[in-house]
């Protein structure tokens, strides 16, 4: 029932072969012949994608011709008989033959930009001839409120991520994988350089690994990844204050615990590049009454290429200690997993004051099976047996070890969004980029691994409190001086948004009131050994 005053082509708009055929049937679907531009077909124009460039050039010629004599044009239009506007190429040609002067020489025409007429968004190479100057909008001329729309796409992404995670939890992998596709499409429209787009990208990757490669395809492992991990760790250390805070706070507590002792022994559960220790060595050197004999036992994964990286680091630290007149001895313990370390390897002397330092290592001991004797209990037991003056524990303040995948996922999304957001403050490259990769690996492990492959089993401070108390440790409060110095550290790091908080003797560092990392100190409840001066 064509009610509109369209004289012709009410239904024939898409077929385009004859000029006027009205029918009351619904329009045929756009012809899917070889490379007809689908979007233009829906708009009623039949043209092959491969012809777009040519037609564009002819439109330009027409335009130029028109520019020369506009009045003639509309007059001629009234008189001429035109056919089949749907067949764009033919129509433009017919107009050209009616109106356009033949070109005087080809140099008058600017070659079109080099693109293949695909229907993707606007990224064109600039035209070849650059002798034309034109006013160009500068990018900082932004009146725009596009961040508002970013937000909205970001919110959409988050909702889709949650839905996808829920599908994964339910086992509906086909829906999950189609959601992955949708999200990747949506990602293309969101800024992935920063903000929710970047975080979402990592989570989408992790989810898709879980869906398509199955759990246990863990990217985090020992062995060959050790070297890479160290580099990433180092850059994470540089790019944001979390590790610095961890080292700083732990060192302060250790320093205080070693007060009055002449033989001290630090056991570091993860030496890495030994970043934590120069500061402690310096501080001990400056201690009134002189430095103690310092022993450092550094635990780390074995080097894959035959190098003894632990020893190399030990040597460097020894050199530093020598330069500040601190008697120093180093021992490296190579172990792929912390639970493989036996206390006898540490060669602790009963007369020394021992500090056990665990920066983000204890959570790795929380095995998949909470009932059986998981490594954490074993290790906590022998730590206790060492009777340390202090056990410094720094952990991610997050609940990434919940039994429900969806809960873990949600928590991780929140946690890492916050962390990425804080990372925006870092302007130094490649530190920032590598720090992001470091975080990305964590995300990958939390989201796409299970069983023993999932080592990033972060638990919140409250849980660690219960666990450590249950294992026979009592908390040592971190004092206001530690707090003050942590705050000063942040001022030096000079990015607004970080916040240090004291909570029941522990310190947390967070971003805008969301704590991300928690530092605490403990002592074994069993009788504290008397601090006797040791010989030699």
């Amino acid at each position: 029932m064509p009610l509109y005053d369209s004289a012709s082509s009410s239904a024939g708009s898409c077929s385009g072969s004859s000029s006027s055929s009205s029918s009351s049937k619904p329009p045929p679907p756009p012809p899917l012949q070889q490379d007809i531009d689908g979007l233009l077909a829906v708009a009623g124009y039949k043209i092959r994608s491969s012809e777009l460039r040519q037609v564009a050039q002819r439109l330009e010629r027409l335009e130029t011709a028109m520019g020369n004599s506009p009045a003639d044009f509309s007059q001629l239009a009234s008189d001429a008989i035109l056919y089949n506007p749907s067949d764009l190429a033919a129509w433009v040609d017919s107009l050209l033959s009616e109106f356009a002067q033949p070109p005087t020489c080809s140099s008058e025409f600017i070659p079109g930009p080099v693109n293949n007429g695909s229907t993707t968004a606007e990224s064109h190479t600039p035209p070849v001839q650059q002798n034309i100057t034109y006013e160009q909008r500068t990018l900082d001329n932004q009146l725009t409120v596009v961040t508002a729309t970013e937000e909205d796409s970001g919110i959409r992404l988050v909702h889709m991520l949650m839905t996808c995670a829920e599908c994964v939890q339910r086992g509906d992998f086909s829906l999950a994988s189609s959601l992955i596709n949708d999200m990747q499409g949506l990602l293309a429209r969101v800024n992935t350089v920063c903000g929710i787009g970047k975080v979402a990208g990592h989570f989408i990757d992790a989810l898709s690994r879980r869906i398509f490669r199955g759990i246990g395809g863990g990217s985090v492992g020992g062995g060959g990844y050790a070297f890479e991990s160290e580099i990433l760790y180092h850059h994470f250390y540089e790019a944001c204050p979390y590790l610095k805070f961890a080292h700083f706070t732990a060192n302060q507590a250790i320093l205080e615990a070693f007060d009055g002792h002449d033989c001290v022994h630090v056991v570091d559960f993860n030496l890495m590049h030994g970043l934590q220790w120069p500061a402690l060595i310096q501080a001990l050197a400056l201690r009134p009454g002189g430095p103690p004999l310092l022993r450092l036992t550094g635990i780390g994964p074995p080097s894959p290429d035959g190098r003894d990286s632990l020893r190399e680091i030990g040597l460097r630290l020894a050199e530093l200690a020598r330069s500040v007149n601190v008697r120093f001895a180093f021992r490296g313990v190579a172990a792929s997993r912390l639970e493989d370390v036996k206390p006898w390897m540490l060669q602790v002397n009963p007369k020394e004051a021992v500090a056990v330092n665990s920066i983000m290592q204890l959570h790795r001991l929380l095995g998949p099976d909470p009932i059986r004797n998981s490594p954490i209990e074993t290790v906590l037991n022998w730590i206790k047996d060492l009777n340390p003056k202090i056990l410094t524990v720094v952990e991610q303040e997050a609940n990434h070890n919940q039994p429900s995948f969806l809960d873990r996922f949600t928590e991780a999304l929140y946690y890492y969004s916050t962390m990425f957001d804080s990372l925006e403050a870092c302007r130094v490259q490649p530190e920032k980029a590598l720090a992001e990769i470091y975080i990305q690996k964590e995300i990958g492990n939390v989201v796409s691994c299970e069983g023993s492959a999932r080592v990033e089993r972060h638990e919140p401070l409250a849980k660690w409190r219960r666990r450590l108390s249950g294992a026979g440790f009592r908390p040592l409060a971190l004092g206001s001086n530690a707090f003050k110095q942590a705050s000063m550290l942040l001022t030096l790091f000079s990015a607004e948004g970080y916040s240090v908080e004291e909570t029941e003797g522990c310190l947390t560092l967070g971003w805008h009131s969301r704590p991300l990392i928690a530092a605490s100190a403990w002592q074994a409840v069993a009788e504290a050994g008397s601090s006797a001066a040791c010989v030699g």
Partner: protein, 383 residues
């Protein structure tokens, strides 16, 4: 002269996909054929050239449409688009006006663009856009086939819009179940945006509630030549000369562009202070030469204390919303669906936290390497 043409052609080719360029350039070309210097319009050729599609009561991609004559006196037609429900794959005639099923169904009264002279409700590009809005907003869309200039000058288009508004408001089958009222939004692009504004204005004090206005590149102007008009004249498909032609064709004879239809916040405009005007979503394309007028419109609303959200799409030209092949399109569609209030909450995640993450910003002060060394030794040893 030829030189500056070349410049202009190159510029706009760089900012839109090629098929968009071809589409809009083709429109430009065709429209040039139709506008006569003496102010008359080649209507027959216009209708011949306009690509149209019929209504389709068979759902296509979940949307079906049908045409309704809502005013015999002016032959005013509307095309109604509805979402198809699962159980009625082929609604028969009796079911076309079946009551809307949901708690809240937005009804978007859409006014197509065309600078008051071109296009119709059954133009292919607008049929596509309206169908899209149905899916996007879970809405019923009523596209008004208003009378066009120069044959029908001001206020015909507004009269038709007002007629459509009254008609929509009085359809029982368009009432949302929640409150038995029709939840009406006015939307339009180019001249349609202008019409939406003026219809909303007329609705004030009428007892008809308009919940929101969606203005895509709305057509406004004024006597003054603004900076954007001068800077962008002829650069991105549109010239000042053609804008002037269309206003001369629409406005009453003898009126200039400070007529309130063209310039609602100009010298002859009406103050909207203290008026119960609907909230507005205004989309402005950064390469639209009339953006200064559009921004002044937004400003005018703000100064009158009215709720308005501006979406300034920096690198967009006119017509960017016609083809879904650019970021601006998707951004705007998302915003429209949000504006009409249909973001579906899947309720796992408190959106607040996402907002807080997204909104937190950091001011960075330069790091000083010396300071970085110093902190290593910054220990207070216990006394």
């Amino acid at each position: 002269m030829a030189r500056s043409n070349e410049v202009n052609l190159n510029e706009c080719k760089m900012v839109v996909p090629l098929n968009t360029w071809v589409l809009i350039s083709n429109f430009k070309l065709a429209y040039n054929l139709l506008r006569r210097p003496d102010g008359t319009f080649n209507r027959h050729l216009a209708e011949f050239l306009d690509r149209k599609v019929p209504a389709n009561a068979n759902p296509v991609d979940g949307v079906f449409s049908f045409d309704v004559l809502i005013d015999r006196g002016t032959s005013l037609l509307c095309r109604i688009y509805r979402p198809a429900t699962a159980e009625e794959p082929q609604p028969n005639v009796a079911e076309l006006e079946k009551p809307v099923a949901a708690e809240v169904v937005p009804v978007i009264i859409f006014f197509h663009g065309g600078s008051f002279a071109h296009s119709s409700a059954n133009s292919a590009i607008y049929d596509t856009l309206c169908r899209r809005l149905v899916g996007l907003c879970k809405a019923v869309v009523v596209s008004v086939n208003y009378r066009r200039a120069p044959e029908n000058r001001y206020p015909c288009a507004y009269d038709d819009g007002w007629t459509a508004l009254k008609w929509v408001n009085s359809r029982p089958w368009l009432q949302s179940q929640k409150d038995s009222k029709v939840h009406i939004y006015l939307a339009g692009d180019s001249s349609g945006g202008n019409i939406a504004h003026h219809v909303a204005l007329r609705a004030i004090d009428s007892g008809i509630d308009v919940l929101g206005n969606i203005l895509l590149n709305p057509m406004f102007g004024g006597q003054e030549r603004t900076e954007s008009e001068q800077r962008l004249d002829g650069k991105y498909f549109v010239t000042l000369r053609d804008r002037d032609w269309y206003w001369r064709a629409y406005l009453p004879e003898g009126e200039d562009r400070d007529h309130h239809a063209c310039n609602p916040f100009g010298p002859n405009g009406r103050s909207l202070e203290g008026i119960n005007f609907p909230k507005s979503l205004v989309v402005v394309a950064g390469f639209d030469l009339i953006q200064d007028w559009q921004l002044a419109y937004v400003d005018g609303l703000k100064k009158a204390g009215q709720e308005v959200k501006l979406l300034y799409m920096e690198q967009a030209t006119i017509g960017f919303y016609l083809l879904p092949n650019n970021n601006h399109f998707h951004t705007v569609m998302d915003e429209i669906s949000k504006f009409v209030g249909v973001l579906v909450h899947e309720a796992h995640v408190p959106v607040a936290f996402v907002i807080s993450v997204l909104l937190s910003r950091v001011r960075v002060i330069e790091r000083n390497n010396e300071i970085r060394e110093a902190f290593c030794f910054l220990f207070e040893t216990t006394e």
